[in-house]
Amino acid sequence: MTTEPRHLRYGYPLSEWVKMVANELPIDAVGMWQIVPGGRHGFGLEGEALTDCVRRCIAELLSRGAVPVVGGGLEGEHEWIAQPQYGSKPDEIIENVVREWLANGAKDEDPGGLWFARRERAWFPRS
């Protein structure tokens, strides 16, 4: 019998929420500042369970064609700037993003940090 975490208020399972998070991609980028508080406060997760939740969300976003980005700023020319330093393969990106988030204290993050946007909406700096 599985003991998949369920949303504390709305009752849906974590696997469903992971998909819901990625469903926003066609209309807007999804930020770590949404993912982390969603897992922590929506499902009451901490520690390894929260890290696993973050991993799953990022994996789902990447599987839908998203890439890691940061915002281009208020007057910047580009809305989203791709961050290729996290790697090119999904597993590589997930591990690097999660490692960085854990190293920064596994905080709730804010919208100035990392987001995931559809590839076609991101600008890739020339390397």
């Binding site: 998070v21 926003e24 209309i27 807007d28 700023g73 208020l74 919208p111 100035g112 940090g113």
Partner: protein, 249 residues
Amino acid sequence: MSFIPSRTQELLRARYALDAARLELKSLRVILALRRFNPAQPRVPAGRPGGGRWTDGGSARIERISARRPRNGGTRVIRGQTYETTPAQEVRLDVSSARARALVREVQRHDPNWRPRPSIYEGVEGEILANESAASQAAARLRELNRPEPVRGPMEEILMPNGQHVGMQHRSTDERTRTVTIWEFDNLLEALTPGSQSVQPPVGYRGLWYRRPDGTVFGVRRSENHSITIDVIQNRHPDVRNGYKVHQK
């Protein structure tokens, strides 16, 4: 002695009389318009089709703008003229306009005949300054009346009135991603902005942040494919917490 034939003179007199009548008619229209003029009457917000026109404040006032440029900013119609705008200007236009409307309305609850001085302005920055001026005048008048700014309750009361999330859950996203009409979006901004102070957003954020008097923080951001969005940046309510977004339809 006139060398103009009398028939021509008659024609000229008739033309003069006609022109004078037209001029008088125009003057009467101006006088009538001035008598009806109420700068505080709700107007279609700047940047909307018909921006600056009077409205009854109902849903008719809402219809947002025109085509966007493919990248970066958009366009807004101000007093019949189309201007290109940066994302920052779009956010400042919407926020300043919402704050001015909220404060003017609050003054008029206590002093129905009060109105801000009409401004003559042009362009995007002119419209923003005019909004800020109207808001400042209204705030000053509220101080004279010993009335506080109309600061609404906690963010969750604004975004979840009567315990129900605003707008609609967008497609199959979670309940923290809402979509509202332009009219609802303007109302939310009017509720959120009074008493708020602008705070420095992080470098990458494509919008502006505001701290409300209760310490909660929200951002207003321009998105290329979803016009404008309110982001809840800092709030501790279990249902309306960091990560809550309200997109404008």
